[in-house]
């Protein structure tokens, strides 16, 4: 434990030294070599290395709940944020961060977004999870109940009568909903 923490702080202070990499293996067997400060944004990885005395630099950490596709998305976000962090406090990258985040999610389909939320939840990256759930909320903000069901893959288990009753009760809440 002490070795990994100590080397993480020294690697950031002396940039000339070769950066330490952490190996993460996704569900479909691909191994990602991830720079340590980026990998440590994944809370599950950080605590794995902090809690296990016997892991070494050569240890490949398996992440059976994360697909390769989701991992690419996760790392893109975490690397960008590591980059923003390094430049602090000189630059005030607030606008830049927003611009990056906006462009980042624009390229993600609803399915990709959901997959990333699942991965961010499993990897316990609270900042990314918070950002992605916000994006999901935005995407369903003005959408119909049917759209929301399809978006989240949720099955309607109300009887037609039960649903009609609920909708009647909350009739006033359905004004201004977008067409699907």
């Amino acid at each position: 434990m002490s070795s990994s923490i100590a080397s993480s702080s020294s690697s950031s202070s002396s940039s000339s030294k070769k950066e330490k990499k952490i190996s993460l293996k996704t569900s479909d067997g691909e191994v990602f070599e991830v720079e340590e400060p980026v990998a440590m944004q994944l809370e599950i990885v950080r605590s794995f290395f902090a809690d296990n005395e016997d892991v070494t630099e050569q240890t490949v950490m398996p992440l059976p709940n994360v697909s390769t596709a989701a991992m690419h998305g996760i790392l893109e976000y975490c690397r960008a944020h590591e980059e923003f962090r390094r430049r602090m406090p000189e630059a005030a990258p607030e606008e830049e961060v927003r611009a990056f985040e906006a462009g980042y999610v624009d390229r993600k389909s609803n399915e990709e977004l959901k997959e990333m939320i699942l991965a961010a939840n499993y990897l316990n990256i609270s900042k990314l999870l918070d950002f992605l759930t916000g994006v999901a909320a935005k995407r369903i903000e003005n959408k119909s109940v049917e759209y929301v069901r399809a978006f989240f893959g949720v099955e309607n288990d109300f009887t037609p009568e039960e649903e009609a009753n609920l909708r009647r009760e909350y009739e006033w809440a359905f004004e201004g909903v977008d067409e699907d």
Binding site: N124, E155, F158, Y170
Partner: protein, 395 residues
């Protein structure tokens, strides 16, 4: 391991496998929405409906709701009353002096007009008795025994049964029993002209007589613009000790404790108690406070009871002086200002904000068409709390 890190506020009996995303992630998403959107999401499936109506979710939702000023104003007897939510502008001086001030809700970005409550036709002229956990308590100004609790965010309401002393109602107070642990343990206290008192409990849905009654020889303030202040589980009114010479009757505060259902007197400092002019009760930063008119109503002193219940802790914070009469304090802005109703440069009675630091006034919000039309202002927080007895929900 990860499951232990996420603190789930979900309820145990939600069936697994209903979500494409874990329940705690869905709750994260739900908490970002206002009540109206959540009403739609209740119709998606049973487990969502169950989560959104569960007490833990309702509690988390109210915690992240922002507090706004709730405004009721009475434009004309023959027109419907207007009720709206006012969000303070981020920048001071939103409306430049040159802009013509016309009354139009649509052009006021910080003002959202609320729909009239479903029972509006049953009240000829109404009054907000209080606002608590997103629920407003309203009564008819012509018949104080006609009382409603209403949550405008979910449009749920409860018509209260008539109090025992229904022909004699003089004063009402609204609040919540803070000791029950529920957000919906609402109560209304009703004081009749002959000093009888009774309490309505929403959960019991009935009135109970308060055995000791209202303290004898005390007259509650009859100031029309005053409303009771709810703080620390008690509702408070300004009152005067009954005496023969009206102008000499000392002022004091009377409180009613909603947990243990008893009245108590809170004394004012001597000079405040002895001055004849009106007192307006309010709450600032969790402290009980009094606006006391001085100099023939051209100024108000703000007194704050820094330490609740300790008479020696009453402190005069400052004086607001406005070079005209016919204005009065309404409440506190989050940004440090004080809301008043008064006349602006354009000569209309409107919502004015006083800035204590610079001792300046800004005409913040909507102008009314005629002077001296009362505005009522309370703080309001959007919530999903249903003002309906728990045993009747879903029945």
């Amino acid at each position: 391991m990860i499951e232990a890190i996420h603190v789930s506020i979900g309820i145990g009996n939600v069936r697994k496998g209903d979500f494409s995303l874990p329940e705690d992630v869905m709750i994260d998403i739900f908490l970002r929405f206002p009540a109206k959107k959540l009403a739609q999401l209740r119709c998606v499936c049973k487990s969502w409906n169950q989560i959104i109506t569960s007490q833990p979710f309702v509690e988390s939702h109210i915690d992240q709701s922002t507090t706004k000023a709730c405004i009721l104003y009475h434009p004309y007897r023959y027109r419907p009353l207007e009720l709206g939510l006012y969000s303070e502008p981020q920048e001071i001086g939103l409306y430049p002096e040159t802009k013509k001030l016309t009354f139009d809700f649509e052009t006021l970005p910080n003002f959202v007009k609320l729909c009239n409550p479903p029972f509006a036709t049953k009240l000829i002229d109404w009054n907000i008795i209080g606002s608590c956990n997103g629920v407003l308590c309203l009564c008819s100004n012509f018949d104080l025994s006609v009382i409603y609790m209403w949550n405008p965010s979910i449009n749920k309401y409860m018509a209260l049964p008539k109090p025992f002393y229904q022909y004699n109602v003089r004063y009402l107070g609204f609040g919540i029993n803070p000791l029950s642990g529920y957000l919906d343990d609402f109560k209304v206290v009703c004081i009749s002209a002959n000093a009888n008192a009774e309490v309505y409990s929403l959960q019991k849905n009935s009135w109970t007589i308060v055995a000791e009654g209202f303290p004898p020889s005390i007259d509650l303030s009859r100031c029309p613009y005053d409303h009771p202040a709810f703080l620390r589980g008690c509702v408070h009114w300004c009152a005067r000790v009954s005496c023969y010479v009206d102008s000499k009757c000392p002022w004091l505060i009377v409180s009613f404790d909603f947990a243990d259902e008893f009245f108590e007197k809170i004394m004012l400092p001597d000079n405040l108690s002895a001055s004849d002019s009106n007192k307006f009760l309010n709450v600032v930063d969790g402290c009980l406070c009094v606006f006391a008119a001085v100099d023939e109503y051209s100024a108000y002193e703000l007194w704050v009871m820094m330490d609740y219940g300790v008479v020696e802790s009453w402190t005069r914070i400052y004086i607001i002086e406005k070079p005209d009469k016919y204005w009065w304090p309404l409440g506190f802005a989050k940004t440090g200002g004080i809301f008043l109703q008064g006349v602006c440069e354009h000569g209309q009675s409107t919502l004015v904000t006083y800035w204590p630091d610079s001792q300046t006034f800004t005409c913040t919000c909507f102008p009314l068409e005629l002077p001296h039309i009362p505005i009522q202002m309370l703080t309001f927080v959007e919530s999903l709390v249903a003002p309906v007895p728990r045993h009747l929900i879903g029945a």
